[in-house]
Symmetry: C2
Subunit: 150 residues, 2 copies
DNA sequence: CTAGGTCCTAGAGTCGGGTCTAGATCAACA
DNA sequence: TGTTGATCTAGACCCGACTCTAGGACCTAG
């Protein structure tokens, strides 16, 4: 039932260094317990929290914000509105990211399609080519968007 | 038609520092031209490229990868397969990000809903509360997932 | 003429988020 | 018994991506 730092590292995907670092940074729900010899002991709940934690991180929440959230939770009841606000703020943030990424995806898919069709037709040399154009226009290098012109 | 670094900064949303930095890092399609007095001159195409560039950045492409892409393009025809591979790699990456973020969104929406309904019912004190539980269980602080238990 | 604003370069500093090192302790195995 | 291997602490270090500073040039308006 008790887990060593090494086991937690393996199962969480974080390094032991990162786990100690997170602890110093106050990112754990509970103060991490120690064995009599000073070694850390973790439990399943810590893994569950770490899973959430890494989700929050990978969706762009800063360690500072995660710390704030967990600190509120540690303080107990009375600040649920604050916690909710924090969650909502991050949710909005993530939704904005998704929209932005989807916009980027459209741009990229268009570019990829252009490359594909040109390569398929062996017309690759009509893609953006700075040095070629340098001989025919005053300004050597047209914008990369020229790729999409043909 | 010619743009100063200040104008480009305004219109691209990047700082003048960042623009000079990007230039040093080889992220421009063209070597940036200079006036006789040494000042940089930019053109519309640069803005268009910078727009793409910031899309790539904000979708997580590193400056190193952007540099590689623009360098390939500068070299002219013959490496279209490489460019395409680079684009596809990043596209996959972005798609993975979107999936990950959508997973996170589901988790967050669930959490937010729980807070909302509990706050609405005035039952907030049944949410995760470390100090409270500390008095009733050997291990003081259950996982934050306990929030979802009620 | 001078004051303010924009620009230049080289290089130092910052910040977030880890990562790594040194030197020590401890448990288990051959 | 001694060597491995996991752990501990404090603190140095790293990396990417900027950001800022110092010291100087230049331009334009008042």
């Amino acid at each position: 039932m008790d887990l060593s730092i090494g086991e937690v590292a393996q199962r969480s995907g974080l390094s032991v260094h990162a786990l100690r670092f997170y602890e110093r940074e106050g990112l754990f729900a509970n103060p991490v317990r120690r064995l009599s010899n000073g070694r850390r002991v973790y439990h399943e709940e810590d893994l569950e929290w770490l899973a959430i934690c890494t989700r929050l991180r990978s969706s762009g929440m800063s360690l500072a914000d995660i710390r704030q959230y967990i600190q509120l939770a540690r303080q107990g009841p009375g600040n649920e509105h604050e916690r909710l606000a924090l969650l909502r703020r991050h949710q909005d943030h993530v939704e904005a990211q998704v929209r932005e990424l989807q916009g980027t995806l459209e741009v990229m898919r268009a570019k990829v399609r252009i490359y594909e069709t040109h390569l398929a037709r062996g017309e690759a040399d009509r893609l953006w080519n700075p040095s070629h154009r340098a001989t025919t226009t005053p300004r050597p290098c047209p914008a990369p968007e020229a790729e999409e012109a043909s």
